[in-house]
Symmetry: C2
């Protein structure tokens, strides 16, 4: 690696950067300007392919004084505005990263990255790969052997290549071929995943030419059979016009006659949004890799989280056979959750009164690419918040749990993820993922299908001739906490519950149990243990609850899941550094944002959270805590059901953050009662009063009061 | 035990029973008539205390032909209508159970039950215990030592006694004393759980007199200190008028302008309800013990579940010290989920267009006690059902997930449980429990509280002088399945995912994994294993999916939880027979409904699901399955947070049943699209179209069609 640092004269006066908050995303003109500055490093006709141009987030040491000044109303420190870029010399393997200081117009860093570091896919490239795969004469020759019906439309799904260490030092794509329903070739939205073909071209990324054509195994073993004539199979469409739609569902409207209860305001250059709702306050940033990132989350003015984001995602597949063994995607690092976001549609993606945020990312030419409505913000009713009925008087006190949802939906080729940050009125944060979309399919011999077909043990036949392979979705949620204070240290502890030993004095009946906290001293990867009720908590040891003396904290409720099944020797395992533990804790370091490493495409491992944790940094900070970061993993081992095809019903998985001795009481105690006058429900029946009644009590030195039966001293 | 079988002449002509469906609950007149028949067994002035008078459900062997005839439209077999009753000779320990044939007016069974079999609590008794505890001179003398402020109101919370084998053969109650805020004694809804007192009277249930007064340990150990003057402490109210309510939450209405999408119709005598919604059909029965019980659940005419119910619940507490070690409640068997149901209020307990069901249970005198609005039925929006966006055309196909909710809310003294059966449009059933209400509290010395207080390891200080002890909530959901057929056998299998060993031919890269099914052969208790992704499935081995050859089935998704912490030697463990395993499977037997046994109050164990499973019955039934029953356990180890006081934010826990290869494709593929014209959301912003576009494809032997780039053979 060589570093080139150069200084430039400002090509045009911008002055626009002054208005930006340090956490504002790059505006379109800043993206263009960054590209222009980087191009000016190179001979005039050098063609660059930009992989990303994004905000270079300021170091935390610079941000904290700024945030403190925002709170105190003091003078805001000046923080230079910088852009981060990764780019290729187009049609070469020469991959660079650069940091451009937009405030000084200096290029502070511009380095060529070393071997086995590859950039993410980009949209223009995906389109090019589809085209070149389909135009390749060798591919056409293989397709011809299938003797497809006249008029059949073949289409190509480019797939990230993965790593197996076999001739894969250069940047490659594998491509899976499908066709649209041959009997209905004109419908562009026909579901081609019902017609997988056994041909997989491999493309290298200098010329984007086909360098190899893999023929897929379609039987019970890894035998590659000669391609023969395609046999007819039925279609399996998901789009609505091919269904005999139900007509017995009546409308359900969420009506908010006074509008929504949140306030959202753009900050700085308009790319950062301040959001306040029900004592919560936070800032919404957006970037191409992570999508929406929440900064400075606080409740009732008390800091909770400095930065919250989906850090990474890995989807390794179960089929051991070449070339399927290479299917292991990192949808954030390889593609970009932000870049892949859907344009959300009013009334289609959520109900009620909805606000949308749009954003801008960069394209391959270094031009801004607008993302309209890539985030929606709305409220929803989350059922009863709390309730108690006094059985003596029959009086019920009840509240509803209103929730605030910040949602993004991403399409990564076949799959969809519905990603939502949710907040409620009792100080809880939920990160919810709903997995939906279409399974990534492959061909399987007809004799393995049907009522007597034996299938294969690494996948499920979901349609005649169609195999959906088992795969894991492993997510990593990054939490950079500041529980209780911008500056004070935090700690990670876990609480377990254990039976007390039987003891004739202490626990003679064998019924007692107790909890104990264990402080995590060093950076590490750790697991849940449901049998010990192990619960991880982030605490601030500098602030004690005034009523019970416990350190204020937040617990993490994440469901147990099966960790990555790939062997520790495998590239799958080495690359997905977050995939083997329920939680990683590290000492904060700038730029350690992505649990699988900065560049995941064909990565080799060694650059993610497992490596950071192996530093064994002190994260306890003695008695006062440290600046630590948590990576919370959760996931699904998706064993496909036929019910998941042709489109998969949402599978929901959630991580909750809940206060533990952070407040003095239920923080939702002040939520207004749930009453018909407010909620306006409807009934065919007449309302009746509570049946519970009757009270028994005793008044000391006085008259009795209350219900039927009274005692008196 | 002795059995008396007698025949009676019908005291009055009823003829009403003919109209009843065999699953109809007893009507009020049937309850009264049953009590009358039973009273007629005894000398004229014998006073009976009825514990329950409820439908004696017909044996399954009788029900199946009836249900088949209902489906086929054939002649309905005659099934005798019977009532089950349990009762005491009032003010004695003589406890009986009886079965009364209402069709023949014969008493078919009337036996006195043996030692250590005790009836549940009843409302009249609870009121009497409160009264007698407070009127007892000894109790008054102990209270006097507290020197409470003048005008203070003391109240009594009767608690089920539990079992420790120490002088507890007779039926007993323990009582915990509290007081209302001494500075505000007139508010009947003041939260007395903020003022626990260290005095616990024990009452025996013949005379209902105090037989012992336990003084509670309040320190770090089991030392009993002399009662001294009460020291002032603040109140902690949950009712709304004491709060400074938030005023920034705007209304959210669920409006269903065309009404709800379900149909509900009374069947037979009106106590059973047929419910149909979105291809689902089922019958809702209601009884005092279980609350709503669902029978004959089918989807699109295909049977799924014969009987679904909450079978049991156990709540053992962690404090090892006398008398707290005896706190271990079975809220269904000791009190009754049905009997404790709230009267649900329009707009307070759910939103939208709501139907209510009322029911009738029996009281201590054998009279009917109406329960108004004890079940509510409504729809809710469950977010996106499924979505896919074709990135080539930008077209999004999306549905919303409408859910049907059948909800009951029960108040068991301090605690509330919100119990809901939920159904959706993709063939899934969810059983959801939300735990809320007020923690059961006890006094703790002030020196253990406050910012420097060390507390105790078996509980959390939630208010000055108030300890909330750790406790487990362990639920048992009973599933009597009939997947795919009323008559064919079912089987229980579990699927695990395992890594393939590295093998140079088969799995050279160490990435492969596979699933395998294990058939459960014998009745047993079994555990989850998240590390193996173990998933239990109910299958019908007689019906194969026509596309992939798998047996049709439903999987059970239940979260892992910490099993009962009480030692295997303890009564807690012996009694809560379901509490030690995630799932029990038994061979069907009539009357094996309650996982902790029929009579849980002060039970000794040996009468619940662990005992049934120990029969090691064949549940596989060779290759064709058997009539098996599942008991699925789930739970919370509730380590109280201060945020759970004075009333606890809902803690939600769910069990899901989802089809696995039961259908041929996503059963919700025919749900109408989610569109603004239907959903009518609102926005301050203008709607824009999808940004995704561009298509690459190849048409075989024909013209290209679609987007920007085209290939041609």
């Amino acid at each position: 690696m060589s570093t080139q640092v150069q200084s430039f004269s400002l090509p045009k006066a911008t002055g626009k950067h002054q208005a930006a908050h340090p956490l504002c995303a790059l505006r379109g003109d800043e993206i263009s300007y960054t590209a222009e500055l980087i191009r000016s490093l190179w001979p005039a006709n050098t063609d660059l392919r930009f992989k990303t141009i994004t905000l270079d987030e300021p170091p935390k040491a610079q941000l904290l004084p700024y945030l403190e000044a925002e709170v105190s109303g003091g003078k805001l420190p000046v923080i230079d505005r910088k852009a981060f870029a990764a780019y290729y010399i187009r049609n070469t393997e020469r991959f660079h990263e650069a940091v451009v200081n937009l405030s000084t117009t200096q290029i502070e860093r511009n380095v060529r990255l070393g071997a086995n570091i590859h950039g993410n896919g980009d949209y223009e490239e995906i389109v090019l790969i589809e085209k070149n795969a389909l135009e390749d004469e060798g591919v056409k020759a293989e397709i011809a052997k299938l003797q497809l019906p006249e008029g059949t439309i073949v289409c190509a799904d480019p797939w990230i290549y993965g790593s197996d260490g076999i001739n894969d030092d250069e940047r490659l794509f594998q491509v899976f071929l499908y066709m649209r329903d041959p009997s209905n070739p004109s419908d562009l939205d026909s579901n081609h995943y019902a017609f997988p073909l056994p041909i997989s071209p491999v493309i290298e990324c200098n010329s984007y030419k086909v360098i190899r054509i893999d023929i897929l195994p379609t039987g019970k073993d890894n035998t590659i059979k000669p391609i023969s004539k395609w046999t007819a199979a039925p279609a399996n469409e998901y789009i609505h016009e091919y269904q005999n739609l139900r007509n017995d569902l009546k409308p359900l409207h969420v009506v908010q006659p006074e509008g929504a209860s949140f306030n959202i305001n753009p900050v700085g250059n308009g790319t950062l949004h301040n959001l306040s709702w029900q004592k919560w306050n936070m800032q919404i940033h957006y970037n191409a890799r992570e999508g929406p990132v929440l900064f400075n989350i606080s409740y009732d003015g008390r800091p909770l989280i400095f930065r919250l984001s989906l850090s990474d995602m890995n989807i390794p597949y179960a089929d051991p056979r070449h070339p399927f063994h290479k299917k292991s995607a990192f949808d954030l690092g390889d593609a970009g959750a932000g870049a892949m976001a859907n344009n959300l549609q009013l009334g289609c993606d959520c109900l009620g009164h909805i606000a949308y945020i749009s954003s801008t990312v960069s394209d391959d030419k270094g031009d801004p690419m607008p993302l309209e409505n890539c985030v929606c913000i709305h409220e929803q009713d989350g059922g009863i918040g709390w309730k108690h009925t006094n059985y003596r008087t029959g009086r019920a006190a009840v509240t509803r749990n209103r929730e605030l949802v910040i949602q993004t939906i991403i399409t990564v080729s076949n799959y969809e993820y519905i990603l939502a940050y949710m907040f409620n009125q009792v100080g809880e944060i939920t990160y919810e993922v709903r997995a939906t979309g279409v399974l990534s399919t492959q061909p399987i011999d007809q004799e393995l299908c049907g009522p007597d077909g034996e299938g294969v043990p690494w996948g499920t036949v979901v349609h005649p001739g169609v195999l959906a392979t088992h795969h894991q979705h492993i997510f990593s949620l990054r939490i950079d906490p500041n529980i209780g204070s911008l500056r004070e240290g935090n700690q990670l502890v876990y609480t377990e519950a254990h039976a007390m030993p039987i003891d004739k004095d202490w626990n003679p009946n064998g019924t007692g149990y107790y909890t104990e906290d264990t402080l995590v001293e060093k950076s590490a990867g750790l697991n849940l243990n449901p049998d010990a009720n192990r619960v991880f908590k982030i605490i601030n040891p500098n602030q004690r609850n005034q009523i019970n003396g416990k350190s204020i904290g937040y617990k993490i409720q994440a469901p147990p899941f099966q960790k990555i099944l790939s062997a520790p020797e495998s590239f799958n395992y080495k690359r997905a550094e977050f995939s083997d533990k329920n939680i990683y804790v590290t000492k904060y370091a700038d730029r350690e944002l992505y649990a699988g490493g900065w560049y995941t495409n064909q990565s080799r491992g060694g650059t993610g959270v497992r490596s950071w944790a192996e530093r064994r940094d002190d994260v306890a900070g003695g008695s006062t805590g440290s600046d630590l970061v948590l990576f919370v993993q959760f996931g699904i081992n998706h064993i496909p059901r036929i019910e998941d095809f042709p489109v998969m019903p949402c599978e929901k998985i959630s991580v909750h953050l809940k206060p533990v001795n952070f407040f003095d009481k239920n923080p939702g105690i002040d939520v207004r009662p749930s009453e018909q006058v407010f909620n306006r429900s409807t009934s065919a029946q007449q309302e009746t009063s509570h049946h519970q009644a009757g009270s028994v009590e005793m008044k000391v030195n006085g008259d009795c009061c209350g219900g039927e039966v009274k005692g008196k001293l």
